[in-house]
């Protein structure tokens, strides 16, 4: 992908990360184009969550660099974080608190005054189809709506980059489809840069950018149609199977070599 042509997105260079002796990411280099929906597709254990934890500064790597919207994450993590909205794979709501209270707590963490927070919360909740539910306890929302609330919360500070780590985990099919559509629409409407990690190929749309991550390495990184051209496959499912199977064969061949 040609990031320079599109301005500042996310630039990752030579990123390595290991948990003890277990390598999670092995020389990951990527350019994420701004204003685009980029899906990071990989099977479980591919390193997606590790990459997300590194992107949002929860963990730090000693090798490689990450630039988020032009800001070096290692040098100015807070400037980078201020531009991000993050939806984690784990549920992160306070279930005993109301929708409005969850928004207010997050707004306080981000330094918003109560008035400003309430104003923005109204807009964000409406955007995610949760208007009128401010006083409901988060516990009473279904899985899909809880996820929407987390996205609304992530949008509260008007981020330029929205990170979502497998946000559809545990959702039923209609909720999952609805959420995927919603975020694609959000990206198209507001030119938000979206980074969406998933292991489900049907969450990737034809106009998206696609990164295939497998065994801690980038197998492909381009617009979906370019990935299809390159692999000679008719759809993302086949391309994903081809890219990950090729790796398995290569690994087997490596293992077989004396």
């Amino acid at each position: 992908m040609e990031a320079a042509k599109f301005g500042l997105g996310v630039e990752i260079n030579g990123l390595h990360f290991a948990y003890g002796s277990k390598t999670a990411l092995d020389g990951v280099s990527l350019s994420i184009r701004p204003g685009r929906f980029t899906a990071i597709l990989g099977p479980n254990g591919a390193g997606k969550s590790t990459l997300f934890s590194l992107l949002c500064g929860l963990i730090a790597s000693r090798e490689g660099s990450i630039r988020v919207l032009g800001v070096d994450l290692a040098k100015a993590p807070r400037d980078a974080l201020a531009q991000m909205g993050i939806v984690f794979q784990q549920q992160t709501l306070d279930l005993d608190l109301s929708v409005a209270q969850n928004m207010a707590y997050f707004g306080a963490l981000r330094g918003l005054s109560r008035k400003d927070c309430e104003r923005r919360a109204t807009i964000c909740l409406e955007r995610m189809g949760l208007e009128g539910r401010e006083q409901e306890k988060a516990r009473n929302l279904n899985g899909g709506h809880r996820r929407r609330l987390e996205i609304a919360r992530a949008l509260l500070c008007e981020p330029t980059l929205l990170l979502l780590d497998e946000p559809t985990v545990g959702l039923d099919v209609p909720s999952r489809t609805g959420l995927v559509e919603h975020v694609h629409q959000l990206c198209a409407d507001s030119r938000l840069t979206v980074l969406w990690a998933t292991h489900l190929v049907d969450e990737v749309w034809p106009n998206d950018d696609l990164v295939v991550l497998h065994q801690g390495r980038v197998r492909a990184a381009a617009a979906v149609e370019d990935v299809l051209d390159k692999t000679g496959c008719a759809d993302v499912n086949a391309a994903f199977a081809a890219l990950t199977a090729a790796t398995k064969q290569a690994s087997s061949a490596d293992a077989a070599t004396p």
Binding site: Y19, I59, L81, T92
Partner: protein, 268 residues
């Protein structure tokens, strides 16, 4: 006030507010925090008062009942449990993810942890004063002014025990492991201190155990509270509590450092 400073303040208020709301919603936690020391005070102390004679020792000016003796120890116990429970909630939060929300806030990590610590300490104050009110009503007479002189000591000891819990939570990956640490931290700290018996009595039984009690920072929490409750200042105890609070918090910040501590472990 600059926007940056305002952000710090709003964040601190937000974390305290959330902790307060969680406290209100977790009534069982509040009741447990009250019942535990009350059982010690009303049942254990009643049984032991005839066995354990307490001579006149500072800060007391006269002979006191055993119930009176153990009140400061029980106050410290409330804060010890609260500190450990706050860290339990940190482990729980981390497993459930809301700790991630806090730690990805664009403010220095030490400050975010400090906010958590302050919020936990304030909750412990509510628990302590509720206990003291019941104790005063039912069984012991406390100097009225002691309620006020106790406050700064409670803040320091709340910070110390909260920081200790935070330090422990930075080394624990899952909730299951935490139960073991509770047993290996709470009980030894409590029983190897002056909470339930004066140290001179312990020395009569065993010099080694007495030495351990003297080295136990929790002993100083108890003594600082005991003196403050009777309008006296135990400088040594207060200094040890303040020093331990600083050291434990510094180590907890290292434990939560993105490059070093718990964060580097593989996701469960």
């Amino acid at each position: 006030m600059t926007t940056a400073r305002l952000h710090y303040l709003i964040c601190l208020k937000g974390v305290i507010w959330r902790e307060g709301l969680r406290f209100v919603h977790q009534r069982e936690r509040f009741i447990a925090a009250l019942v535990r020391p009350l059982i010690w005070l009303l049942i254990f102390a009643a049984g032991f008062r005839s066995i354990l004679g307490v001579s006149i020792t500072p800060p007391y000016d006269t002979y006191i009942t055993y119930e009176t003796y153990i009140v400061p120890g029980l106050v410290a116990m409330i804060q010890l449990f609260n500190g450990m429970q706050s860290s339990l909630s940190l482990v729980y939060d981390r497993e459930m993810g809301s700790m991630r929300v806090l730690l990805t806030t664009p403010l220095p990590r030490w400050f975010l942890l400090f906010c958590k610590l302050i919020a936990g300490t304030l909750v412990s104050l509510l628990q302590v004063y509720a206990f003291l009110a019941i104790a005063e009503l039912v069984i012991v007479d406390l100097p009225p002014l002691g309620w006020f002189t106790l406050l700064p000591v409670l803040v320091a000891s709340g910070l110390m025990l909260g920081a200790l819990g935070m330090l422990l939570s930075s080394t624990i990956r899952q909730l299951e492991n935490f139960a073991g640490i509770m047993n290996f931290v709470i009980f030894p700290m409590f029983f190897l201190s002056s909470a339930l018996y004066p140290l001179w009595r312990m020395r009569e039984s065993s010099e080694i155990i007495w030495q351990i009690c003297v080295l136990n920072p929790f002993t100083y929490v108890v003594e600082a509270a005991r003196y403050a409750l009777y309008l006296k200042l135990n400088v040594e105890a207060v200094l040890v509590v303040a020093l331990c609070a600083g050291v434990f918090f510094a180590l907890a910040v290292v434990g939560y450092d993105a490059k070093k501590g718990m964060a580097r472990r593989a996701p469960a």
